[in-house]
Symmetry: C2
Subunit: 248 residues, 2 copies
């Protein structure tokens, strides 16, 4: 079982993901937000690659049950109901809702990997559940770090490394590439204190400057959730392991 | 003094490099080859982004003093005089020659960063000389890893980390980004035995399969050369530190 890491969506084109099992990681904050939204009863999260498309898609398509959520440059977008803080996606706000979701890096990464055979969303919050599911699937895995504006981001890479470690614990002989060996090394170096690591990343510092201290705390929590956001090419839903997988 | 690392040329567009001080690293093998060629008396190395352009440029422009050099997928290109083994670029072969040079990743990375204010080529072979020069320049630095086919490669990243360590030894307070902190960590983990590290990278393994064992040995040698290949937007020449810098 081979595991490869892409440190940014620009490292591959859309067709690269065809027939692959892909895990998208955007620790700060899209992955954590999506996981929390589905955990709190949102029916679907529809990730979109542009704000314009978010507005278009949300225009009545889901019979008033739609919420526009997300951020641009860390801030809530004008006209959107909610931003990109995981804790905004509470039961009261998201239960039974369809959420059209845009974020600077995360939602675009998911859309980029849309041709994947299996696409899951991962953060520190649901990491162990994702690892367990991947081991069951037995496929080679591409871990796609959302990064920041086409650049590397440490928090996604450390999370990728932690996911590899979790998979390794559950199964021997994970075959690594240059990038997955690197991600694992970064986890070994920076993974001891996840919150401290987040506070010292470029993106983490920017969020702290903008008052999102609580988001960093939330995003640093390991395995508080076992939801598996699964993308069928259009929408993310919580994967029901009892039902056979259906792609629309 | 800030140091940032790009793990692949796809992480930035050409204009990103405008007015910046950039160091291009392609350990296996373009950087090492270019350094050795200039050290052995080649007048210029003209890096090109396509094989077609290499053939066009070499067509008589330099009065019979031109050599076509480089590789595609590790192998010498049909019609080219020399491949991409550093040791092919001996004094007997390259002295006083103009070398039009194409390689799968390295020459393209240099061309991508052509708008840089200062552009130097670095490998393990000339690393200390590059660090010394960068400290003297006092500019922020972008280290551009050539990577492999738009993907991450460990050997370039470890070399970037070693360059940061060398700069750090010569000057306190190098400011790191997410990516330069990561590169430094990878150097700490994999930099003890450079040859061993090279043998275990994806690209290193491919070169070994193709019989290029000696190239790996050559490319692993630390600070055997103090040549500073400097790119003026068209050609690479050995930087003469006594003369004022001239861009054409």
């Amino acid at each position: 079982m081979k595991v490869n890491v892409l440190f940014s969506p620009v490292n591959a084109d859309e067709l690269y993901f065809a027939n692959k099992t892909t895990v998208v990681i955007d620790v700060l904050r899209a992955s954590s937000t999506i996981i929390n939204a589905l955990s709190n009863g949102a029916k679907e999260v529809i990730p979109v690659a542009t704000v314009e498309f978010a507005v278009k898609v949300s225009g009545g398509m889901f019979g008033g049950q739609t919420l526009l959520g997300g951020e641009r440059n860390t801030k809530k977008i004008e006209g959107f109901a909610i931003g990109n803080s995981p804790t905004e996606y509470s039961k009261e706000v998201v239960k039974d809702k369809f959420i059209v979701f845009f974020s600077t890096n995360g939602s675009k990464a998911i859309v980029k990997a849309k041709f994947s055979e299996n696409l899951l969303v991962c953060s520190f919050n649901n990491l162990s559940a994702v690892a367990k599911h991947l081991i069951k699937l037995k496929n080679d895995v591409e871990i796609l770090c959302a990064g920041t504006n086409n650049h590397f981001s440490l928090e996604d890479s450390v999370c990728a490394g932690k996911l590899i470690e979790e998979m390794n614990k559950k199964k021997k002989h994970i075959e690594v590439s240059d990038s997955s060996a690197a991600a694992f090394t970064l986890y070994e170096r920076f993974g001891n204190d996840i919150l401290e690591m987040l506070k010292n990343t470029e993106h983490g510092k920017k969020l702290l400057e903008n008052g999102f201290d609580k988001d960093l705390e939330f995003c640093s929590k390991l395995n508080i959730n076992s939801v598996l956001p699964y993308f069928d090419g259009i929408k993310l839903k919580s994967l029901d392991l009892k039902k056979p997988k259906m792609r629309s």
